[in-house]
């Protein structure tokens, strides 16, 4: 497929055809590069931790401190979880069909499947 992008958008200012993205390779041999961490923040007591993004840090402790400065500058959190990105195992989206579609027709798992007389009230 030939794509001819001569139009420059905000955040896409054109440039060399050989810039970022045209050669996707992993170069983590740079001794000064820090590992990537995924950050989860509990926005207030009683709620789940939610994925907010990622950042770089040398260890878990630093990742938490960086997350505090990067992701909670406006009091967005009361608790932080960090995990190095490489330790996350994700389900394969190509298998989404077999993983999640079997649940689609199991409507009897949902409360609305059951019709009860009004006299029962809220249940």
């Amino acid at each position: 497929m030939k794509i001819n992008l001569t139009k420059y958008y905000y955040g896409d200012f054109g440039g060399d055809e050989n810039v970022a993205g045209n050669e996707v390779k992993k170069t983590n041999d740079d001794a000064s590069a820090w590992p990537l961490w995924e950050i989860f923040v509990r926005s207030k007591q009683g709620l789940d931790h939610k994925h907010v993004g990622s950042l770089h840090a040398t260890d878990a402790q630093m990742a938490i401190e960086n997350a505090r400065d990067v992701y909670t500058r406006r009091q967005e959190g009361v608790s932080i979880w960090v995990i190095e990105s490489k330790h996350i195992t994700a389900s394969n989206p190509d298998e989404a069909g077999e993983l999640y579609e079997p649940a689609v027709d199991k409507i009897y798992r949902h409360p609305t499947f059951y019709v009860l007389p009004d006299e029962v009230g809220h249940m």
Partner: protein
């Protein structure tokens, strides 16, 4: 001999100037840090220090204005000729001269490399924490309240900066070498933190205990960082009484430029 009110005002100005100048120095890193995450971190510390300095200036301004209303012009004259009729945080920060600033010399030194910056931050934050712990018991309630609020911030500054001392002291041979240079560069400015000047004497600060506690804490971190505390350093003093290094004049030239070039304007 200054009266008590004057001493308190001078002491507040000392605290305000010290935190302002260190904030000004740290903010020089904004946009130039070694890695994005740490650029944000040091900028946060700069903002915390700026916030603290504003609290001290505002309180000092309030006291000066009150004393002025009592026709105590003698008290006023010692806080800068050019500060105008109504004293504000800005007139105190922007219109006093290099001989009137009372910040610690340590805070006005150039940032040097990242190692020197984080070492200064650690040495200062550790001192500031112990000092403010004492000041939060001070009989002046407003001063005590400002210090209590700042302590939470400072606790984090110690944590952040001491971790950097460990990383760089016990990191690579190059980082260790740079830390040794930084220690050598900064150490002669430590002494004045623990020597009381005139306006400090009535503040009920136990500087001997402060110095001992400080030395103990720093020793623990330095040992873990495989660094050692220099012995028998000749100490430079004078910042608290307005005799500075040559650096301060340049800092103020930049900091005060707008207010000097466009006097009596609102921003």
């Amino acid at each position: 001999m200054q009266n008590l009110a004057q001493q308190l005002i001078n002491y507040l100005l000392h605290l305000a100037d010290t935190t302002l100048i260190l904030s000004q120095r740290n903010s020089e890193w904004c946009g130039h840090g070694p890695v994005l995450e740490q650029d944000i971190a040091i900028t946060n510390i700069s903002l915390d220090l700026l916030g603290q300095s504003r609290n001290f200036y505002q309180y000092a301004a309030q006291l000066i204005n009150e004393s002025k209303n009592m026709q105590d012009t003698k008290a006023l004259s010692s806080f800068g000729e050019g500060v105008g009729s109504e004293i504000t945080e800005d007139s105190l920060a922007y219109l006093r001269t290099e001989r009137e600033f009372k910040n610690l010399l340590l805070t006005e030194l150039p940032n040097g490399d990242w190692g020197q910056t984080i070492l200064r931050q650690y040495l200062f934050s550790q001192y500031q924490y112990l000092l403010f712990e004492q000041l939060q018991q001070n009989k002046d309630e407003q001063l005590a309240a400002i210090c209590t609020k700042a302590l939470k911030e400072i606790k984090y500054h110690i944590r952040w900066s001491s971790e950097w001392v460990l990383r760089l002291g016990d990191g690579t041979p190059e980082s260790k070498q740079r830390m040794l240079v930084a220690i050598n560069e900064l150490w002669r400015y430590i002494g004045e933190m623990f020597i009381a000047v005139d306006y400090e004497k009535e503040m009920n600060i136990d500087l001997i205990a402060l110095q001992n506690n400080w030395a103990e804490k720093v020793d623990v971190i330095f040992q873990e960082a495989t660094l050692s505390i220099p012995k028998n350093t000749f100490m430079q003093i004078g910042g608290k009484t307005g005799t500075h290094t040559e650096n301060l004049g340049f800092i103020l030239t930049e900091l005060q430029y707008m207010q000097r070039a466009y006097p009596n304007s609102q921003w």
